[in-house]
């Protein structure tokens, strides 16, 4: 019995020592200088080398983590979220908490406001329709209503309202990831500052045509009359290419501009109902 124990210990010990020495020598001789953070990150990983992350082994994953600008896409099925948090700490790749933003759809061209003059029968994608022509209305700037933004959203925060034919953003779910902004072929969606109680006030139109032309294709188009610019006390509204724009940073939410707009192109959302002229604000 003792023989077995002795032999086992000797053999294993000898092999272990041999392996260790060889590895040590080899590692010395063939040393390659690498980003030291890779090792640090690798230490936090489970070293299961299971390939579950889609990359061949934990080291490859660590390298990918070090290389990547945005590590939120890289996931290890074995590691806990604490480990990942620690890794992001090592890499310092946590994006600084930005000012909260929310996506806003700058078009109010419902079928009632913006009559259809043809039927689109192509692939139901805004990008396809936009490359082809102006869309089902005459407004070459307006929302095509085919939902590329809805598809782009990974957080289920944007949905098509089938009555208005326009997308609507659920503010609580919106992470301001910019995906819909990039996807919209007409640049209708904008990320704007998130205000208290999700209040917002903005020009729901990006039509740069001359007033008459814009008005002809859509009842609620901004016609570039400039009344809102005069009404604003904070210089928050600028007029460019026949189009008013409310700077979300300068805007103090005073609501002076909205009643001035002759076409109701300025939308106020989540404000208490106005005492006078309440009927005109049907946007809630």
């Amino acid at each position: 019995m003792s023989d077995i124990v002795i032999y086992s210990i000797i053999t294993l010990g000898a092999m272990g020592a041999a392996a260790a020495i060889i590895l040590f020598l080899v590692a010395k001789k063939f040393n390659v200088v690498e980003d030291p953070r890779i090792d640090l990150v690798e230490e936090e990983l489970p070293a299961a080398n299971c390939g579950g992350c889609g990359l061949p082994g934990c080291r490859a994953f660590a390298e990918a983590l070090v290389k990547a600008d945005d590590i939120s896409e890289l996931k290890c099925p074995v590691s806990s979220s604490e480990a990942m948090a620690k890794i992001s700490e090592i890499l310092g790749k946590e994006i600084p908490e930005p000012e909260p933003l929310v996506a806003v759809v700058r078009c109010a061209g419902t079928p009632a406001n913006r009559p259809r003059n043809n039927i689109y029968d192509g692939t139901p994608k805004c990008s396809v329709a936009s490359a082809l022509y102006t869309g089902e209305s005459n407004c070459p700037y307006g929302c095509l209503g085919l939902g590329d933004c809805v598809e782009a959203c990974r957080f289920d925060a944007i949905h098509m309202n089938h009555e208005t034919g326009l997308p609507e953003v659920t503010d609580e779910l919106c992470t301001a990831c910019n995906a819909c902004v990039v996807e919209c072929p007409r640049n209708i969606i904008e990320l704007r500052k998130k205000n208290k109680k999700d209040r917002k006030i903005y020009v729901a139109c990006i039509n740069e045509e001359k007033g008459g032309v814009a008005r002809k294709s859509c009842k609620v188009a901004c016609i570039g009359c400039g009344k809102c610019v005069k009404a604003c006390k904070f210089d928050a509204i600028t007029m460019e290419n026949n189009l008013a724009y409310i700077d979300p940073v300068k805007c103090k939410l005073c609501r002076k501009c909205a009643p001035e707009c002759p076409t109701n192109a300025i939308l106020e959302i989540n404000f208490p109902v106005r005492k006078q002229k309440a009927g005109a604000q049907a946007q809630e």
């Binding site: 260790a20 489970p46 299961a48 299971c50 099925p77 806990s80």
Partner: protein, 193 residues
């Protein structure tokens, strides 16, 4: 960490087979019947538990550079113990599981637990984690084994409930893949709810 949660996570939420897709080789290779699956599950569970204990005990003495080889040696020792014990006491089951007993050593689930959990947590947590995950693994293997046995030989734990042969294909390799595929789909669905 909440120990109860720590214990139960292995069943569905972080089930090594259904969710993490670890340890698939024994999960498919040994589950020709519910009993075989369970046997393999318990053997693996023993190794996970023991290696978790040892790793958690020695975690402060092992230099970081050589920790992986150390863990592998620890695991391999327990695997050898299981192998020898099973060969001695349950030769029939040992024969059935065959190659997959020594291969527990390369089951990335076992090493994963040692590295990801036991090397960073207390002894108690590690024991609970090892037991929970081990039971989850056993549960998965038993379930898969049961499904294959029911479909493949009209029996469960060896008890014939319908006369005649079942769908032989479920005892064979293709059935294993297909059955696990649908079980994972089911687990995903349950997990979502």
């Amino acid at each position: 960490m909440d120990q109860a949660k720590n214990f139960t996570k292995g069943f569905i939420r972080e089930n090594p087979v259904f969710i993490l897709m670890l340890g698939l080789c024994p999960a498919l290779g040994t589950t020709t019947s519910a009993f075989n699956g369970m046997g393999m599950g318990f053997a693996t569970m023993f190794v996970v538990l023991m290696s978790n204990i040892v790793v958690s005990l020695i975690k402060n003495f092992v230099p970081n550079k050589v920790r992986i080889p150390c863990y592998i040696v620890i695991i391999a020792s327990f695997v050898t113990i299981v192998d020898l014990v099973m060969a001695g006491f349950m030769p029939a089951l040992h024969e059935q599981l065959g190659l997959f007993i020594p291969l527990i050593v390369v089951n990335c689930f076992v090493l994963g637990r040692a590295e990801a959990f036991a090397s960073k947590n207390t002894l108690l947590s590690s024991v609970i984690d090892g037991t929970g995950m081990g039971l989850g693994f056993t549960f998965a293997l038993t379930l898969l084994g049961a499904a294959r046995e029911i479909l493949g030989s009209n029996a469960i734990f060896g008890l014939q409930f319908i006369e005649g042969d079942g769908m032989l294909v479920f005892i064979l390799a293709p059935g294993a893949f297909i059955a696990l595929g649908y079980l994972i789909a089911l687990a995903n669905k349950l997990n979502k709810q």
